[in-house]
């Protein structure tokens, strides 16, 4: 009778893989097998760490060890705070965590957190509020202190900040990596003014745009005041062709576009259009919504010369002050308008101004017919809007978030910089009935810099050194 040797070999083979597991079991039962009690065994064991292991393992009753690839599979679903803690439990878990991180195989679909600061917590501390855990984490960030900076963007775990010399940086709050972006004086409209010692002491800001026209003469701003005029919103996109990142800046006058690759020494201006409201990056192209012209533009930034195309005309009736361009998980492109209730644009002196968002109007771009189609309900999806890179997420992957809701923060540049002590327009809006709720109660944050959504990320830039 032929016994099945293949099966035996296969099962023995699997035995070899699980020898750690079996060794553990044998080891655990060794005292019993030898007929010793742990204390009598101690007398015979000269090597201290072996002695400790025998007694500890026998009394603690440790579980079988899971192989590294299984541990990695378990950790791959975790949110970053849980993942980081799991990697601190013991050396085998740490090893799995490190491999997972190095391979970039940890969960990239992290739940967006609210990033905010608070006067009482510290000048260099940023807080992250996690919906999943309903708690905040405090992170100490590199200098200059985060509370002295303006926050103008958040993409892929990177914060884009403007410091009190109006210079921009990228900061990853989780890894504390910080990268300086090209100097503000390389922006088309900005020129440095030096004092008698040759030190930079003011900026000259020119009001021209790419369009022909007559402009006021340039204005002079103090180093920390330029940022309240110039910077509007910034985005960080992975540049797949070079493996680096591209930063796109919407800046004044008139919300023009400039961009730079991380590592560049200057910003590249993209005239002639202006009045851009929001950007996104899809399939290697930058999409920018230009409301004055009523168009959606795409830019190919990969070649030596930037090429631009217009892909849709946005009818004038949709024109509105705040608008977002969002990639949907199903591959579509959404254009979303933020509607405010009536407000007093010129309040009496001393009166506070409240901008209240009352509605989001959502349209999907239909590529075939090249038109916008209104969507009344985002069943199974969640929006994150504000100064961050606009997000539309599938609610199923984020059980702690509410489907068909928009989580929004205040990105009204006039009021954020102009009225830093005012209450911020932020909350959760139900897209069905436009009812609105607070994000967290009571308010945890200081009003300046205005809080913003950020998706935590463990990635490091790993800039290649030059020369």
């Amino acid at each position: 009778m032929e016994s099945c040797s293949v099966a035996r070999i296969m099962s023995l083979g699997k035995l070899a893989i699980h020898r750690t597991y079996l060794c553990n079991r044998i080891f655990r039962n060794l005292p019993k097998l030898l007929g010793f009690t742990p204390s009598s065994l101690k007398k015979f064991c000269k090597v201290e760490h072996v002695e400790l292991q025998l007694t500890k393992k026998a009394t603690l009753g440790t579980l079988p060890e899971l192989p590294p690839d299984i541990l990695m599979g378990i950790f791959a679903t975790l949110e970053i705070p849980d993942l980081v803690r799991a990697g601190s439990v013991c050396s085998s878990w740490r090893s799995a965590y490190t491999s997972l991180r190095n391979l970039g195989q940890y969960n990239l679909q992290q739940t967006p957190c609210l990033l905010y600061t608070s006067e009482s917590i510290g000048e260099s501390v940023a807080c992250l509020y996690s919906h999943a855990e309903k708690r905040s984490y405090k992170l100490t960030l590199p200098e200059p202190p985060i509370r002295t900076r303006c926050l103008i963007g958040s993409s892929h775990g990177w914060l884009v900040t403007v410091d009190d010399r109006s210079e921009m940086h990228l900061v990853n709050p989780i890894t504390c990596e910080q990268i300086a972006l090209p100097s503000v004086i390389t922006i088309e409209q900005v020129n440095p003014i030096v004092d008698e010692y040759g030190a930079l002491h003011k900026y000259e800001f020119s009001w021209h745009t790419g369009a022909c026209g007559v402009y006021s003469s340039p204005s002079i701003f103090a180093l920390d005041k330029l940022r309240h005029e110039l910077h509007y919103k910034a985005f960080v996109f992975p540049d797949t062709s070079t493996g680096s990142y591209i930063v796109v800046l919407i800046h004044n006058p008139m919300r023009q576009l400039s961009f730079a690759r991380v590592g560049d020494d200057k910003w590249t201006w993209l005239p002639p259009y202006d009045d851009y409201k929001d950007c996104t990056y899809k399939d290697g192209l930058l999409y920018a919504a230009c409301t004055y012209k009523g168009e959606l533009h795409t830019f190919d930034l990969s070649g030596p010369v930037v090429t631009r195309k217009t892909i849709i005309s946005i009818p004038r009736e949709y024109e509105c002050e705040y608008m977002y361009v969002v990639q949907a998980p199903w591959g579509g492109l959404l254009l979303i308008w933020r509607i405010f209730e009536d407000h007093n644009v010129e309040p009496e002196p001393g009166a506070s101004v409240f901008w209240n968002t009352t509605e989001y109007r959502i349209y999907e771009f239909d590529a075939e017919r090249s038109e916008l189609k209104e969507i009344n309900c985002l069943r199974d999806h969640v929006l994150f809007l504000g100064h961050n890179q606009s997000l539309c997420l599938g609610a199923e992957e984020y059980p702690c978030l509410r489907a068909n809701h928009a989580y929004f923060t205040d990105d009204n540049s006039l009021w954020i910089c102009g009225l830093p002590n005012d209450h911020r327009d932020m909350g959760v809006l139900n897209l069905d009935d436009n009812s609105r709720e607070d994000l967290v109660s009571p308010q945890l944050w200081s009003n300046f810099p205005a809080p913003m959504w950020i998706t935590p990320d463990l990635r490091k830039m790993n800039l290649a050194s030059e020369g």
């Binding site: 009778m1 032929e2 016994s3 099945c4 293949v6 099966a7 035996r8 296969m10 099962s11 699997k14 035995l15 699980h18 597991y21 500890k56 603690l60 009753g61 440790t62 579980l63 079988p64 899971l66 192989p67 299984i70 599979g73 378990i74 950790f75 679903t77 975790l78 949110e79 970053i80 705070p81 849980d82 980081v84 803690r85 799991a86 990697g87 601190s88 439990v89 013991c90 050396s91 878990w93 740490r94 999943a132 855990e133 984490y137 405090k138 992170l139 100490t140 989780i174």
Partner: protein, 196 residues
């Protein structure tokens, strides 16, 4: 290959469901020598066993020296339940032309109910102590049963969530085997995640 003495289970009727599957029984032998029977269909949820059957190695029963009886019976329970579910799905798909709308609704309700049923079965299967859970993971890994492996791993992930490092060590009975220096370095690297 010499004819093996007819195993009562392997000569059972080739009753056919939907014209594809046989009801041949497979014997699985746990590490502590207990024998379990499973339909070929259920057993084939394990890719490891599926290959052994296809290579003709399963006639005398399949020894599984890594899987104790307690765990093997749970694994078989999972396979039986999920093999039956896969079969039902195939049955529904097989008759798309059933035009009657009521019938369609009934089918949908039935499969929604079955889904709930399966979900709660899965949940109770992994609602066990950590040692058993780890044993299930190791068995599912060894036997290459992806659904069960994912289910059990997700349970471990759920048990890790929102817990402090000390709590995790206690729940999973894990020894802190870092040296003092290592522990300090680890804590320092992501200090923010530990402040409670």
């Amino acid at each position: 290959m010499a004819a093996t003495p007819a195993d009562a289970s392997s000569s059972s009727s080739e009753a056919v469901v939907g014209g594809e599957k046989s009801n041949k029984m497979i014997t699985l032998i746990s590490s502590d020598g207990e024998s379990f029977e499973a339909t070929e269909e259920a057993a084939k949820m394990s890719v490891t066993i599926k290959h052994m059957i296809e290579d003709g190695c399963a006639d005398d029963g399949i020894p599984l020296p890594n899987v104790p009886a307690k765990i093997l019976s749970m694994v078989i329970e999972y396979c039986n339940k999920h093999a039956a579910d896969a079969d039902d799905t195939n049955k529904h798909v097989a008759d798309p032309a059933d035009a009657d709308e009521d019938d369609d609704n009934n089918n949908n309700n039935a499969s929604a109910g079955e889904k709930e049923d399966l979900k709660s079965f899965d949940a109770s299967l992994v609602a066990v102590d950590q040692a058993t859970l780890f044993d299930i993971i190791l068995a599912a890994n060894f036997l290459s049963i992806k659904g069960l492996l994912d289910l059990a791993c997700q349970k471990v992930a759920d048990d890790i969530k929102d817990k402090s490092v000390e709590e995790v060590r206690e729940i999973f009975k894990i020894e802190n085997d870092f040296t003092k220096e290592e522990e300090e370095a680890v804590r320092k690297e992501n200090a923010w995640a530990f402040n409670e």
